[in-house]
């Protein structure tokens, strides 16, 4: 066997190396007796290693060799520059989540399981890598499971907390159910085509075959569960509310983004002959996702539950890029993912740091937040404005491009419905802004100082929100990569 093929997987292998190093460090360095400097160095280790690995895989983007397309193991594994770019984006998001997690990890009750948090998170990330780079349905399925199962453990991380356990139970049960359906769909694919390689499938699909159409729906439902699209979204609110805030942040951005990207690539690459069918399906799913989530978001008081519905509706906007499967759609999807990531993580960073310092997670608790914590509420406002799509923040540009992509792909009605929903979403995002700035409160959340990790992460997010749109070369850069899909 030609082992050099493994070298094509350098993105994944470097991540595995990071996981192994962290595992060993956790085993041998983190005894009970630790001096202050060692513990400080250790808390920097995951972030530092991941940053190094990000730099490593990003370096491949800077000096592309050949056409950038690589294939290993007979097409089971595939990688293109735009896939690498998505992995880099996911990595950046994970780094921000790690920075967010630091103060939480330092709590005494978490001291004995710090290593697990990093390893589980990176394992899900590895699963997403494989999902993105898969060239075969089994590979895809394994990646999906690798991304799901450690996630359950993460959601149940504070295992003595009843809510956390409940959230994990709901997640794993729904995940199993959707995996079952997905596997059923894959078996239909294999049964009708006799192969599971993506490259070969496109030629064997035909829109007339009922079983294959069923497989298409089952595939979309399986991955729709990961992106939490309506009607596969019902677990989202309960899980987001119960999971530790850091994990919720991770769940709402990273795993969702990876799944949305994979949905795009597989629909375009594999289900190409059924393009009309999946356009119809996605059309309705998007309309329902955006609208239903907005309707629910209006009523929430728990801010994490609120963000869950916001995330469902944002997912609807994100997969707008899938419509028609154009190169422009791909560019705007990746761009939307990046912009959504910085804004959403910015909000979660502030929710998290507030929860860590005051224990409050209701929107009404944020009344008068501006009086006590003006800087945080200002940045929160920027991020919410970006999520709502108000110019000149990055969210406006990302929405603009994704609407334009859907419009050019021939779905003006869909774009119109999405636009109307943008107005509704503006309403509920502004509810939080109103709570922070306008509603008077005699006892607002006491002023607190956030730790320097959180500060760094918040600064990165704020910068991304402000500059992500105006610095147009980001979009242009993605566009050059996604040109050939």
């Amino acid at each position: 066997m030609d082992y050099s093929q493994f070298l094509y997987m350098h993105d994944e292998i470097s991540l595995i190396a990071v996981i192994v190093i962290l595992f060993l460090a956790d085993l041998f360095l983190c005894g009970d007796r630790k001096s202050g400097t060692v513990s400080k160095a250790l808390s920097l280790l995951p972030v530092g290693l991941l940053a190094l690995q990000t730099a490593y895989i990003a370096s491949a983007l800077l000096c592309p060799c050949g056409d950038g397309m690589s294939e290993a193991f007979g097409g089971m594994y595939q990688n293109t520059p735009v896939m690498t770019l998505v992995k880099v984006v996911l990595n950046v998001g994970t780094i921000i989540v790690f920075l967010m997690a630091d103060s939480w990890m330092k709590r005494p009750e978490n001291q004995i399981k710090v290593g697990e948090f990093y390893m589980l998170t990176l394992s899900t990330l590895l699963g997403m890598y494989y999902m993105i780079s898969s060239g075969h349905f089994l590979m895809f399925f394994i990646g999906l499971e690798l991304a799901s199962i450690p996630m359950t453990a993460l959601i149940a991380y504070t295992k003595n907390n009843q809510e956390s356990a409940e959230a994990a139970a709901k997640y794993i049960l729904t995940a199993l159910f959707s995996s079952g359906l997905l596997l059923y769909g894959i078996s239909l694919v294999y049964g009708t085509c006799g192969t599971m390689y993506f490259d070969e499938l496109a030629a064997k699909f035909s829109p007339a075959d009922t079983l294959q159409l069923a497989a298409l729906v089952l595939f979309i439902s399986g991955i729709g569960f990961k992106i939490s699209l309506v009607p596969f979204h019902l677990w989202t609110a309960d899980t987001y509310q119960g999971a530790p805030t850091t994990v919720t942040g991770y769940l709402s951005v990273i795993s969702k983004g990876a799944a949305a990207f994979v949905l795009f690539t597989i629909l375009v690459k594999v289900f190409q002959p059924m393009v009309e069918q999946w356009n119809t399906i996605m059309l309705w799913i998007i309309i329902f996702s955006i609208t239903v989530a907005n309707l629910f978001a209006v009523r929430q008081n728990n801010i994490k539950r609120f963000m869950a519905f916001s995330a469902i509706s944002q997912a609807g906007y994100l997969v707008l890029g899938v419509m028609g499967g154009t190169a422009q759609g791909m560019t705007s999807l990746v761009y939307y993912l990046f912009v959504y990531m910085v804004a959403n993580l910015g909000v979660f960073l502030i929710i998290n740091v507030t929860e860590q310092n005051s224990g409050k997670i209701n929107i009404s608790d944020y009344n008068g937040f501006y009086q006590s914590n003006p800087k945080l509420s200002f940045i929160m406002t920027l991020c919410l404005f970006s999520l709502a799509g108000i110019p000149p923040f990055a969210g406006f540009f990302s929405k603009f491009f994704i609407f334009m992509a859907a419009f050019n792909a021939g779905f003006p009605v869909l774009v119109f419905i999405a636009l109307v929903n943008t107005v509704i979403s503006l309403y509920y995002y502004l509810l939080i802004v109103k709570a922070m700035y306008i509603v008077k409160n005699d006892a607002p959340i006491a002023p607190f100082r956030s730790d320097c990790y959180t500060k760094t992460a918040i600064a990165v997010c704020a910068l991304g929100v402000v500059l992500g749109g105006i610095v147009s070369c980001i979009y242009g850069y993605i566009d050059t990569l996604s040109y050939g899909l």
Partner: protein, 657 residues
């Protein structure tokens, strides 16, 4: 010439730095930073100009149009928004004008604004303004121009309202912003029409047009298409854009904001409302000039007559004002109208001695240049006077020549320049404008000559009112007026430029030098154009200017002014009307309040409150009701979740089968 990008970046960085970190800086340090940055970009602009004008020309002898920097900011498929830098003779000239005046104002403000609250904020805004104005003149496309145009509007708003505790300043800044913004609506619609029909915002074809000699190989077919779609499209777009330009350049009837804008600090008036921002409209017309000449020749009388009327109106109002800054403001309006008229009377694009139709373009740009220098000097001089006597009114002044000798001399030089006396810069440029007008239509030429005479009259009325006449002893006993060297230094520099340019161009105009003159740098098509005075025009305007000055001397120089009093008594109504600016503000008040607010806004407001709000309230109510009713979907029971999941899958399968 990639370094030109620094000319835009440095003031922007200085704005950010002073705006964000200004709180922790001393007044002195922040002023030094702002001024140092300005010094650097002034030097860079001069280097650019030197390099540009000495570089190799195109094969046909015209100056090349360079785009040293360009990036696509928003890619929108076939229509892109670009940001870049375009260098051609007029943009390079504007770089010089803006950086020079801005640099002088930066130095001057050290003295004028000393000890003011918000000194750092002041310098931050000055940097922002300079950056926006420079971005406007080097724009490579109409959209970029519009972007910086609005930025200029914003920074002007911020600077006029600098004393935000004074209600008058706040009102003036709002007025300036709203009036120019209203005019900009026309600009925006014009841009959109233009972009929609031609598929491009770029100025490229404009400049290519300049080089095309008779044939039109460079004109993109898109323009032909727009022309074919109806001959009126390009003229309509251009006229709408002209409305925007008229707003910024304070053309009648959109001039009402400029006199009020004098509430801002005086150096700001010098920079923004005399030398740079207000000429943006003229610059815009000049930039789009090839389009005007080629496609909208029939519509150009609009520019001419708006200009002529504005020039006359502003000059007559200026004769009656008592606030020295307002006199200067109206004189600015009048002088800018001169530049507009000069562009309007230009009927062809090829230059040369035999083509008189194209003098206007050169004359307009030339007057822009000379006017910027001497008007900045006048405003800064007015600032010195106000600084010395703490009042804007002419009654508080009189006999100041003893106390403010440097201001006196420089003010006199600038007054002579604006009046059009030979050997001062205004003479050469104004003379070219009048020559161009005469060539177009002698009637326009004579009207402009008369307005030039009025200019000389009201400027010397101002001059005698300030520096001669009765001394206001009561005021001067409290504190003796004095001047500061940091404030007089810019005056000296600007008046040296005025005299130097004046002497050189006057001699060149009479044929003394065969070297460079303004016309060989800037002309309608980039070819050499040697200025030669038309003797009859030059002598007529000089004689008339001197007569007006003598008349003003006769009436206003003395300690008492019997003639002036008699004139006021003879026509009290006329004086009162002119003093009240012919009630233009009241007309606006009447139109906006009595007509628009009462008969248009109120019904619309009712409609908005009851029908539109009602619809949205209904939408909100419906959203809430719906969301209340579907809440059972989110029950918390996993088995139900799975059921919904499965039903969803089945419905989707049935849907596509």
């Amino acid at each position: 010439m990639e370094y030109t990008i620094l000319i835009l970046l440095l003031p922007f960085l200085s704005f950010l730095f002073l705006g964000l970190a200004g709180k922790w800086l001393s007044h002195r340090a922040s002023g030094m930073i702002g001024t140092a940055v300005l010094a650097v970009i002034t030097i860079l602009s001069y280097c650019t100009a030197y390099e540009y004008f000495t570089a190799d020309r195109c094969a046909d002898g015209a100056y090349a149009t360079l785009v040293p920097y360009n990036m696509t900011w928003l890619p929108l498929g076939n229509l892109n928004f670009d940001l870049g830098i375009l260098l051609d003779p007029i943009s390079v000239m504007m770089l010089i004008v803006i950086t020079t005046v801005s640099f002088m104002v930066h130095i001057y403000s050290f003295g004028y604004m000393k000890g003011e609250r918000g000194f750092q904020r002041y310098y931050a805004f000055l940097s922002l303004f300079t950056m926006s104005m420079l971005g406007l003149v080097v724009a490579t496309n109409i959209f970029q121009m519009y972007l910086f145009w609005e930025l200029v509007g914003v920074s002007s708003y911020l600077l006029i309202g600098f004393y935000y505790t004074l209600p008058a300043a706040v009102a003036a800044s709002k007025k300036a912003f709203i009036v120019t913004r209203f005019a900009d609506l026309g600009f925006l619609i014009g841009i959109l029409i233009f972009g929609y029909y031609t598929g491009s915002f770029s100025f490229d074809f404009v400049n290519n047009l300049q080089m095309a000699d008779g044939t039109t190989p460079f004109i993109p077919c898109a323009i032909d298409k727009a022309v074919a779609a109806g001959g009126f499209i390009i003229p309509t777009a251009l006229t709408l854009m002209f409305i925007g330009g008229a707003g910024k350049s304070a053309m009648f009837p959109l001039h009402i904001w400029l006199p009020d804008a004098m509430e801002g600090p005086t150096p700001v008036s010098a920079l923004i409302h005399a030398a740079t921002m207000v000429v943006a409209g003229v610059y815009q017309v000049a930039r789009l000039f090839p389009l005007w000449v080629t496609y909208a020749q029939d519509w150009m009388p609009v520019i001419i007559w708006v200009g002529v009327f504005t020039a006359f109106y502003a000059a007559s109002v200026a004769c009656a004002q008592s606030d020295i800054k307002r006199v200067l403001a109206f004189s600015t309006i009048s002088q800018i109208a001169f530049m507009m008229v000069a562009l309007g009377v230009c009927t062809e694009i090829t230059t040369g001695h035999e083509h008189e139709g194209s003098i206007g373009y050169m004359a307009s740009m030339f007057h822009l240049f000379t006017h910027a220098m001497f008007k900045a000097c006048l405003f800064l001089g007015a600032g010195c006077i106000i600084h010395a006597v703490h009042s804007n009114e002419m009654e508080a002044m009189g006999g100041l020549r003893k106390y403010l000798p440097v201001t006196h001399v420089t003010f006199l030089i600038s007054c002579l320049a604006i009046s059009g006396i030979p050997f001062f810069s205004g003479f050469s440029s104004k003379d070219e404008i009048i020559t161009a007008c005469m060539a177009y239509n002698p009637a326009v030429g004579y009207i402009m000559t008369a307005i030039a005479a009025m200019t000389a009259f009201y400027m010397f009325r101002l001059y005698y009112g300030i520096f001669w006449g009765t001394e206001n002893r009561k005021l001067h006993e409290e504190h003796t007026p004095h001047e500061e060297s940091i404030m007089t230094m810019p005056l000296v520099v600007l008046s040296i430029i005025t005299v130097g340019v004046g002497v050189y161009t006057t001699l060149a105009g009479f044929g003394m030098f065969e070297g460079y003159s303004f016309g060989s740098l800037i002309s309608a098509d980039g070819h050499d154009y040697r200025i030669h005075f038309d003797t009859s025009v030059a002598s007529l305007s000089t004689v008339i200017a001197i007569c007006s000055i003598l008349l003003a001397t006769y009436i206003f120089k003395g300690e008492t002014q019997p003639v002036a009093d008699k004139m006021y008594a003879a026509a009290p109504r006329l004086h009162c009307w002119a003093y009240k600016r012919f009630y233009m503000d009241e007309v606006y008040q009447f139109i906006t309040h009595r007509i628009i607010f009462a008969h248009v806004s109120r019904p619309i407001a009712w409609f908005d409150r009851h029908v539109i709000d009602g619809f949205f309230n209904f939408l909100a109510w419906g959203t809430h009701a719906l969301s209340f009713n579907i809440r059972t979907l989110q029950s918390g029971r996993v088995q139900q979740y799975a059921l919904v999941f499965l039903i969803g899958v089945l419905i989707l399968i049935l849907m596509i089968l």
